[in-house]
């Protein structure tokens, strides 16, 4: 597996790799992709879903409710003036 591809993938996934991790994961991913080649000859069915059983669209009435109070939701979050703290955008 080309290490530049693994590096680019890690960047997309927001993971910084050490040189040792880059070497090891490149080898592991290469091994996995070679194993996946077995699917080249596998039978397939065109109409596929994204779940193994059919999933119904389930809609409910748009009724406001508060199952969990917002103060409980943010109790363990780092907040400032009631807003969740995060890194700067610019």
């Amino acid at each position: 597996m080309n290490k530049e591809i693994v590096k680019k993938t890690a960047c997309v996934a927001h993971i910084a790799l050490t040189d040792e991790e880059l070497d090891r994961y490149s080898t592991d991913l290469d091994e996995m992709f070679r194993y996946f080649e077995i699917l080249n000859d596998a039978p397939e069915i065109k109409n596929h879903g994204f779940n193994p059983v059919e999933i119904a669209d389930v809609l409910r009435d748009d009724v406001p409710l508060m199952e969990i109070p917002s103060e409980d939701c943010i109790a363990d979050m780092k907040t400032y003036d009631g807003y969740i703290k995060g890194p700067r955008l610019l």
Binding site: A13, H14, I15, F36, I38, L39, F50, N51, A56
Partner: protein, 433 residues
């Protein structure tokens, strides 16, 4: 085993990431759950440092339903980080030890749950429970995908995630399954299920995939026990027939591709905000802030699977691997459905070997580890219910026999577990406290 010396027992077996020994006096029963189910009474970390300290403000639907009928949640059990593993060695909070030999693995991902079920004789709930059930010598029932609400389950693979039951007693499956199943408006995947009806239809005929026989990946001890199990099934009136299921060999690849793709998106939310450690440097740009957290707090296997899943979803890979795997999954499901026109279940060993020693686990390559799940991968990718029962012992370690039935047919599995319990002497592990 009573729960009075839980601290001592946990020091030996490390099944719990968190527990209490103050059992409510009016509790009708105690239970434990793997640490990827949210609970108000314990922190929930899913075995990951990136969620360390997270105290959810709500109980998962399964925990709430168990509490509603008088259950007392005794503890959260150690597991592979986000369910990534086969041997429960990828946890940030302790590696559970097998109750039959503490030098060996409990299986994964929900190894702590199987260990707790074996040691405490109580019911434990977990995800991906077949391997742990086999290695720890307990009954494990994984219901159909969508049968049990996933609300409050920290997801690592949306189209695979399922919550199942582990217990030393076969009767526990009939007792607790009706409690945890059912529609839940918080989880749309639970809303299409038919009612669970236990009783009625019994298992009369099972199929054995020819691909299992003479398979060099299955150890001698396992195949001998499996063959004896076939004779036992015949002796209680069950027809056994050998069939060809060629799609079996594709299940590990299909599972690995879809599961890592889903995991890489599921885990994108963990970034040092809202839950878990949030002690980063806010002066960093947001990309750098997120990257620093994820690099520091995700474990090795989690990083590897995120990379694999992210790459699979990228241009140039997504059609060849992800979309292909979805189409092959449909083919595997169709293959199994064809068998269920004639048979009530398909049987295989649960795992191809007995629980390995930790030293041997550390020598396995990533691919070896993934491939060791080639028997359990098919029921997982098909979403079909499956059951593991102990069918023998080799070197003193339990061996599992797995039954897979058609979607929503948990009733034949529950009945089978009880019939098996009457005909096979399941051994208790000798617990050292």
């Amino acid at each position: 085993m009573n729960v009075n010396n839980i601290t001592t027992i946990n020091t030996t077996y490390r099944m719990f990431s968190a527990f209490t020994d103050k059992i409510e006096s009016d509790a009708k029963f105690t239970f434990s759950v793997s640490d990827n189910l949210t609970s108000k009474s314990f922190e929930t970390s899913a075995g990951s440092k990136i969620l360390e300290g997270y105290r959810p403000p709500f109980d998962s639907t399964t925990i709430r339903r168990m509490k509603d009928v008088g259950g007392f949640l005794m503890g959260k059990t150690n597991m592979d980080e986000f369910g990534f593993g086969t041997f429960s060695v990828n946890s940030a909070f302790g590696i559970p030890r097998n109750p039959f030999d503490i030098e060996r693995s409990c299986g994964g991902p929900s190894g702590g749950s199987a260990c707790a079920a074996a040691v405490f004789d109580h019911v434990s709930l977990g995800t991906s429970i077949m391997c742990p059930a086999s290695f720890c010598g307990v009954y494990g029932l994984s219901p159909s995908y969508g049968r049990v609400s996933r609300y409050g389950l920290i997801d690592c693979g949306n189209s695979f995630d399922r919550i199942g039951i582990l217990s030393f007693k076969a009767s526990a499956l009939r007792e607790y399954l009706p409690i945890i199943v059912g529609k839940d408006v918080h989880d749309p995947t639970s809303m299409i299920q038919p009612d669970l009806k236990l009783g009625g239809k019994k298992m009369c005929a099972v199929a054995v995939p020819k691909q299992i026989i003479d398979n060099k990946k299955v150890s001698k001890g396992v195949i001998e026990s499996f063959n004896r199990s076939i004779e036992s099934l015949k002796s209680i009136g069950i027809d056994v027939e050998y069939v060809d299921i060629p799609t079996l060999e594709y299940s590990v690849s299909v599972y690995s591709i879809i599961a890592t793709s889903e995991a890489s998106t599921d885990l994108a939310r963990y970034c040092g905000m809202r839950c878990g450690p949030q002690d980063g440097d806010y002066t960093l740009k947001f990309d750098d802030y997120f990257t620093s957290f994820r690099s520091q707090y995700f474990g090795d296997e989690a990083k590897k699977r995120i990379l694999l899943g992210t790459l699979i979803r990228m241009a140039g890979y997504v059609d060849k691997y992800y979309n292909k795997a979805l189409r092959v999954r449909e083919s595997i499901i169709a293959d199994y459905k064809r068998q269920f026109e004639r048979f009530d279940a398909i049987i295989t060993p649960t795992m191809p070997f007995i629980s390995p020693k930790f030293d041997d686990v550390s020598k396995m390559s990533t691919l070896d580890s993934y491939k060791s799940e080639f028997l359990t991968a098919t029921p997982i990718v098909t979403g079909m219910p499956h059951l593991s029962v102990t069918c023998g012992y080799s070197e003193g370690m339990p061996i599992g026999l797995m039954f897979t039935s058609d979607h929503w047919n948990e009733n034949v599995l529950v009945d089978m577990a009880e019939r098996w319990d009457c005909s096979f002497d399941v051994k208790h592990a000798e617990v050292n406290a």
